[in-house]
Symmetry: C2
Subunit: 216 residues, 2 copies
DNA sequence: CACCGTACTATACACTGTACGTTAGGGAGA
DNA sequence: TCTCCCTAACGTACAGTGTATAGTACGGTG
């Protein structure tokens, strides 16, 4: 039997291969057997490096989080907050599979702690007290997550012609009597689903609300 | 062969059975064969009423959306907005499987249009222009979705003792040198993950930001 | 050189969604 | 009342999935 020579695998190699597969097939369609085949290895070989599939998910997520840039220093804190939020959003756009990775599992891992550290540091330096900083961090994080997830998933739907046709059809079939506002605002709703402007609109609302309670 | 008598099934019965199963097992662990077995029927019987699994997911989601109460009228618009957001959040808390149902698929169906109609109607009546109303609707919706999804999933993690232990361990192991803010704010972060207060904090930020651009 | 731990393989199991072809029950028309 | 057809439900089958378990050969260490 032409056995694979030893030590050709590594956790890092597996993570990168898994990531490549997720990028083309989507994180949900990704399979352990797929990455094993890609590496020319039996499915069970992966279990030497990862406890199970979820463990591999966590590793890939942490790997992606490691790509986030550091917080720019020397800028006013609202700009810093904006930068952190935007770079997380950008990362999600570049790696759509991150949506599923972040949605299904909780935060853990050093890389994830690193992004939390950046945002919390900015908020503390701005003079917010501990509780407000923590609350604001959670709010911003969940906003970026929810907003960008939504955008990415809608974009995916738009690419699938069959699904897109059905969505349009169900929109058109809405009675203008029963749903006057939805029907009237249909074009605006379509236009405001995603995009930098939409993201910044919500982010600005949050920052404007935060400005009211700015310390000092 | 003791065949199931005809016409005992219906789309509605299947949806309710599927929902029951999702509530106890989670929407991801739910299986078509499971609901078929529950109904004393072969797996393929369901395909008479639903095209595939996703189609059933959509039906269950729309069924849940139908449980949302109407917008209370006669209140100031910020209170109305708060009410809509809170009732969506409440519905998600009561039916955690709704998180996966909303995350995986786009909005469609009449019941979903109904909730959009409610919120949009309030915003238009408040005097916002079409674009602002649409943008605000999207922002509020994605905030509620992201924030509540996060909360529910964290709560689920907390219930699983093994996962919870590992999460605590990875928190404790963080170097206070490299992650001073995270370590220092750990108790606050744990406390502000979820709960009505945290939800309202973010919602109030958004509404405060919105108040700045209130018309008239 | 012998040994042992470990990195990998092989086999197997219990599942999943669903395509395909078949069968039987109930309602409609003669 | 008999007949026919439509369709709801059936059974079988297939290509997958994650992973438990047991076995095997290689590399480094004594």
């Amino acid at each position: 039997m032409a056995r694979t020579p030893r030590n050709t695998l590594s956790a890092d190699l597996i993570v990168r291969t898994a990531l490549d597969l997720m990028e083309v097939k989507g994180a949900d369609a990704f399979s352990l057997r797929g990455v094993a085949a890609e590496l020319g290895v039996g499915p069970m070989a992966l279990y030497t490096y990862f406890r199970n599939k979820d463990d591999l998910y966590d590793a890939v997520r942490d790997h992606l989080m490691g790509l986030l840039p550091a917080v720019p220093d020397g800028a006013p804190w609202p700009d810093q907050v904006r930068a952190v939020c935007r770079s997380l959003r950008l990362l999600m756009l570049q790696h759509p599979c991150l949506v599923q990775l972040l949605a299904g599992r909780p935060l853990s891992g050093h890389e994830t702690a690193r992004v939390a550290e950046g945002l919390l540091g900015v908020l503390l330096a701005a003079g917010f007290d501990a509780e407000t900083a923590a609350r604001t961090h959670t709010t911003l994080f969940t906003y970026v997550l929810g907003s960008t997830s939504w955008e990415i998933q809608m974009a995916a739907e738009r690419r699938d012609p069959e699904a897109w046709r059905r969505l349009r059809a169900s929109m058109e079939s809405l009675s203008a009597r029963k749903f006057p506002s939805v029907v009237e605002l249909a074009p605006e709703l379509a236009r405001t689903t995603g995009g930098d402007e939409q993201f910044d609109y919500g982010l600005d609302l949050l920052l404007a609300g935060l400005a009211v309670r700015t310390p000092s």
